[in-house]
C-alpha cells in the first residue's frame, strides 16, 4: 500500500488509523477508477460507494435503501436518530415537526447573530498573529451557533463538544466511553425537556416537548432520538467542513485573495468548499434484494456512501479536484439529497459564508504556518481538524 493509498475495496475501512489528508482522496480516486461501487471486508462486510451517479441513485430510493443504521459501526445510541434514521412514511411526519426553525426564512434571521459570534471569536486571537484556527474558530463557532438554534446555554458549549466528539469519533474504538457520553447527553436533555414542559419558552426544546404526532405526545425514546441528532449534527459536521475550508484557503493564497477581493463570490465558493470537503459519509441498508448500476445488493446489506468521493467524480464534475469558486452547475451531495436532505443545510451555508466574509475582511493574509502539522479526522465525519495559521495582527473590534 504505497503511501497508505488503498488499492482494493476489500481493504477499505473508513476508520483505518493510517487515513490522512495526504492519502484520503487518492484512495477514493483509486477505488472509483476501478469501479464506482465495491465490496469491503470491514465491519462484517459492507458495500462502499465512490461514484456520483450511484450515490445519487441510492439516495433517491429511500424505500429500498433505509437510512437505519446511518453509522457503521453504529453509535451506542439505544434509539434511532430522528428524523434521519427513520424511513417513509414516518420520516415525513417527524421531519415536519422541526422543519420550520430550519427553513431558509428562519436561517436568514441568524445572519447577524452569526456575525457577532464570528467577530467575538476573531477578537480573541487577532492581536496574536498566529493561532490554530480550527481550535479558535472552527470548533467553537458551530457549537455556539447550535446553542442558539436549540435554545441551550452557551456556558455548556464545552460539554456539548465533548459528548459530540466521543459519540462520533470514539464509538468505533471505545464503545463504552461513547456510550457514557450518550447517556450523559440523554440525561441532560431529559431534564431540559422536563423543564420546558413546565416552562415552555418557544425554543426548539419547547417545540419538541409540546410536539404531538397523531394526537399523542412524543415518547421519551422519540425525544431522545431528536435531541441526539440535533446536537451532534449541528456541531461536528460544520466543524469539519469549516476546518477543511480554512485549511484550503490557508494553503491557496490565490484563492484566498480572489475571495477577499470579490466577496460576492463567497456564496458560490462556499458551495465549492462543501463539494470538495463533504464531512459526512453516511450509511444505508438494503431493505430488499436489488441492483444498482449492475451491482447486486442483498436484503440487509450495509452500504457506506462516500459523499466526499462522489463529489469528486469527474463524470459529474470536470476538473473535480480543482477548487473552482464559481463552478456551475455544482450539484454536490454534501447535504444528501431527496427526503433526507440535511435540515440544517441553510444554516450551515450561512455559517460558512458569514465566517468567510468576516475572516477575509479582518485577516485577509492568513496562511498556513511554516511547518504546520495538519490533522485529518477519520470515520464518518471527516475533515481537517488542525489548522495552524499566521497572519498580520489586527485590532479587536469588540469592547
Amino acid at each position: 500500500m504505497a503511501d497508505n493509498v488503498v488499492q482494493k475495496y476489500s481493504e477499505y475501512d473508513h476508520h483505518a488509523p493510517d487515513i490522512t489528508l495526504e492519502n484520503v482522496h487518492r484512495s477514493w480516486d483509486n477505488l472509483r477508477a476501478q469501479c464506482p461501487i465495491g465490496r469491503s471486508d470491514a465491519y462484517g462486510g459492507m458495500w462502499v460507494v465512490t461514484g456520483y451517479a450511484e450515490a445519487h441513485e441510492i439516495f433517491h430510493d429511500p424505500e429500498t435503501f433505509s437510512s437505519t443504521p446511518l453509522i457503521i459501526p453504529p453509535f451506542p445510541q439505544a434509539m434511532k436518530m430522528i428524523p434521519v434514521e427513520t424511513d417513509p412514511p414516518d420520516h415525513f411526519k417527524y421531519r415536519t415537526l422541526v422543519a420550520t426553525p430550519f427553513s431558509p426564512r428562519h436561517a436568514e434571521k441568524m445572519v447577524e447573530p452569526l456575525r457577532a459570534i464570528v467577530n467575538k471569536l476573531i477578537d480573541d486571537f487577532i492581536e496574536t498573529g498566529e493561532c490554530d484556527v480550527y481550535e479558535t474558530v472552527a470548533t467553537p463557532y458551530p457549537t455556539l451557533m447550535g446553542t442558539i438554534m436549540l435554545g441551550l446555554p452557551d456556558s455548556d458549549a464545552k460539554l456539548f463538544e465533548d459528548w459530540t466528539h466521543k459519540i462520533i469519533h470514539m464509538s468505533a474504538t471505545d464503545f463504552e466511553v461513547a456510550g457514557e457520553a450518550v447517556i450523559e447527553l440523554y440525561s441532560y436533555f431529559y431534564a431540559l425537556l422536563e423543564d420546558r414542559r413546565a416552562n415552555p419558552c418557544g425554543d426548539m426544546m419547547s417545540l419538541l416537548a409540546e410536539a404531538e404526532l397523531d394526537g399523542e405526545k412524543l415518547t421519551d425514546e422519540e425525544l431522545m432520538g431528536f435531541c441526539l441528532l440535533l446536537l451532534i449534527a449541528s456541531i461536528d459536521t460544520s466543524q469539519k467542513a469549516i476546518g477543511s475550508m480554512l485549511w484550503q484557503l490557508g494553503t491557496h493564497p490565490e484563492l484566498r485573495d480572489r475571495l477577499a477581493g470579490d466577496p460576492k463570490l463567497i456564496p458560490s465558493a462556499v458551495e465549492e468548499f462543501l463539494r470538495l470537503w463533504a464531512p459526512v459519509q453516511p450509511a444505508r441498508r438494503a431493505t430488499k434484494d436489488t441492483q444498482v448500476c449492475g451491482v447486486d445488493f442483498k436484503e440487509g446489506d450495509q452500504i457506506l456512501v462516500l459523499l466526499g468521493a462522489a463529489n469528486r467524480d469527474e463524470r459529474e464534475f470536470p476538473g473535480a479536484a480543482d477548487n473552482v469558486p464559481d463552478r456551475t452547475p455544482n450539484r454536490h451531495l454534501t447535504f444528501g439529497t431527496h427526503i433526507h436532505r440535511c435540515l440544517g443545510s441553510h444554516i450551515a451555508r450561512l455559517e460558512m459564508q458569514v465566517l468567510l466574509e468576516e475572516l477575509l475582511r479582518r485577516i485577509p493574509d492568513f496562511e498556513l504556518a511554516d511547518g504546520a502539522e495538519v490533522e485529518w479526522s477519520k470515520g464518518q465525519v471527516q475533515g481537517v481538524v488542525k489548522v495552524p495559521i499566521r497572519f498580520t495582527p489586527g485590532p479587536r473590534e469588540g469592547a
Partner: protein, 135 residues
Amino acid sequence: MGAYKSAEDLYRYMGQIFALAFETPGLKEKLNATGVALKLNLSDPDSVIAVDFGQGVVQYGGDITMDVAVDLDMTADTAHRFWLGKLNVPLAIAKRDIKVHGSVQKVLKLAPLMQPLHEKYQQILKDAGLEEMIG
C-alpha cells in the same frame, strides 16, 4: 403492586437467570472476562442480588459478603423489564429509573451481553406457570 410479590420469589426466578448465564458456554467466558462485580439494590419488594461476573458467583439478601465496584438501584419491576428485554438501559439510566453508583461504562459493557438470556428468563417464568408476568 409490582410483578414480584416477595423477595423469595424474585430470588427464585431472577436468580435462576444468573445461574443459567454462568452455565452457558460462550457467554460464561464473556462475562468472566468483564471482571465486573455489581450489586442490584431492588425495591418493591426490597431485595438485593450481588454478582461477581469475573468469578461467576451470585449472592442474595443477607448472605452477601462480596465487595462490588458498582451498585445499581432500581425497582424490582425495572429489573424484571430488563430481563424480559423490554428495558432501554441508556434511557433508563438517563431517566434515573436506574441509579448507577460506580462506572456507567462497566454497566454498558455488561448489558448487551445479557441479550441471549431474555428468552431464557421468559422460559423460566413460563415453566413456573407465571405467563402473566411476561405481559
